[in-house]
């Protein structure tokens, strides 16, 4: 198990469409995930994230390109890759007529774990996900968030070397999300590697060591969250709620986004003082804060859409 947990090169997936043009869901995705990393795959709906995850998790065949899990070719020898992976499928649900305790335990048994190991990991995962109080209630009686926690508990209990999580915290409250984050951090500390997709950019920032942004089946940005923020021209934003017609004053400092009467300037920390001096001279009231990952994401993807 010395090879990289996940490696892909020029991965393509084309879906044939009856009576219409084929859809290219992946147009040459190359990426690698190193041992113990938590990597987020971000993108708009339909960008190709789930297609990539399904191919990587042996559930879909690529049209061309290469992809390996721990050195095993996922396309030609999926049965060799499968023992190393576990998946939280997008929109996956636990069996409605099983309790969370039964769901986690029977799943671990189906993966070949011994009774004792399955039992102890089940209890550990249920506790971790805050499901003890509902552990013996049928899943059909649980809330959407509790069902999703059951799915995550099922998969983290495997402690598989490589976990694929497709929108794992969807529908969860902020407390539950943080429990999931803590569990995933623990897992990687123990040696697991994680590739997740999410539309919660705060989650991607809090959780991932690196991220890939996919747009129309292509990786348009990869790196850390800070790299992405820097790529939009600065890590500080100055918001001016009422500055009609003043955009030109700030264009030389960085990107200026207008919104009605207001505008936002993205600047580097080094040039912040100059911007503040201008706002003072112009009698404007600025609000200064860090650029969020979501804002950087919107700009990077928006720019790509404009280009296309």
């Amino acid at each position: 198990m010395s090879a990289e947990p996940l490696w892909s090169e020029n991965l393509r997936k084309v879906y044939p469409v009856k009576g219409g043009p084929a859809v290219e869901a992946l147009a040459g995705v190359s990426m690698n995930v190193r041992p113990g990393e938590r990597v987020a795959l971000l993108g708009r709906n339909g960008a190709g994230k789930t297609t990539f995850l399904r191919i990587a998790s042996t559930l879909l065949r690529p049209t061309s390109g290469s992809i390996r899990v721990f050195g095993y070719d996922v396309d030609s020898t999926p049965e060799k890759a499968r023992p190393y992976i576990a998946v939280v499928p997008q929109e996956g649900k636990p069996f409605f007529h099983l309790c969370p305790r039964e769901q986690v335990y029977t799943y671990l048994r189906a993966r070949g774990l011994s009774r004792e190991t399955a039992q102890s990991r089940t209890e550990e995962a249920l506790t971790r996900m805050g499901l003890n109080e509902v552990a013996d209630r049928l899943a059909i009686t649980l809330s959407g968030g509790q069902r999703q926690r059951t799915m995550v508990a099922t998969v983290i209990a495997t402690q598989a070397p490589l976990l694929f999580l497709d929108e794992p915290t969807i529908g969860m409250d902020p407390f539950a999300r943080r429990e999931v984050w803590a569990s995933l951090r623990d897992l990687t500390a123990k040696g697991s590697t994680i590739l997740l997709t999410t539309h919660y950019l705060d989650e991607a920032e809090a959780l991932s060591h690196r991220l890939y942004i996919v747009e129309q089946g292509r990786v348009i940005v990869s790196g850390t969250a800070d790299d992405l923020k820097r790529s939009v021209g600065g890590t500080v934003k100055v918001s001016l709620p009422t500055a009609p017609g003043r955009a030109e004053l700030f264009r030389s400092f960085g990107e200026v986004v207008t919104d009605g009467e207001g505008l936002t300037v993205i600047v580097t920390p080094e040039r912040l003082r100059e911007v503040m001096e201008i706002t003072e001279k112009s009698h404007l009231t600025p609000t200064v804060g860090p650029v969020s990952l979501e804002e950087a994401f919107l700009r990077v993807v928006g720019r790509k859409i404009d280009e296309d």
């Binding site: 023992p83 998946v87 649900k93 029977t106 998969v155 402690q159």
Partner: protein, 254 residues
Amino acid sequence: MRIETTEGSARAFRGTGAFLWTEVLVQAHEELAMATAMVTQTVLLVFVYILNPALIGVALVGSVLFSTFTLGQRVLNEAAYIRIDHKANDLYLAGPMSPEGYFLGMAAGVLVVYLPPVALLGTLAVVVAHLTVETSLALLGLAAVVWLFAASIGYIFSTFFRDNRAIWAYASLFFNVFGVLPPVFYPFGFFPAYLQPVALLMPPSAAAALIQTRIGATALSTGQTWLALLGLAGETTFAFFFAVYWARRTVRGS
């Protein structure tokens, strides 16, 4: 880090027992479903008893075979439901569990849960039709063969649907038409002669004809007996191995 399999590779039929148990737990929480498993058979038995009580033994034997045949419909419904609604196949199959273990575990789990009504009908058949030990064992074996055929077909069919609503209609139609119209609940000789070879190529009616011959309700010729036996064996073997192949193939979509 622990890798949960030997030699880093999934073994054939790995996980069958565990998934069987999972299915038993899932199905056992729906007690009413077990009762509904007997509705069609009971209705037909009542009709036969009212219209011609002398045929009740034949109908009871048929009801056992029909019961194991319609378990295929339950496998179809279950496999499609947990794939379409729960994505549970993704959860289980992207892991060390084997695809054929998933299929067989599900089919066997459904069988275990619905065994009590089948056993009840079987006991009634033994008592009412005065089945000998040999004939009872033959009925048991044929019922098992019919189950294996139907479960395999049910699993294969389940992979073609993308919507549960379509399944309810087609599955019910398929299993009821092939389980009720051919001579399963009534003597083989009542079936039009020109269609009899077709009936002998349908597993439920072929099995019923073989048992009816043993209890004297039908007299199959040697050729017909061989056709029924070879048809059952060939179709069931083909259906099972194709289901195993198909289970492996459909893990990865298209």
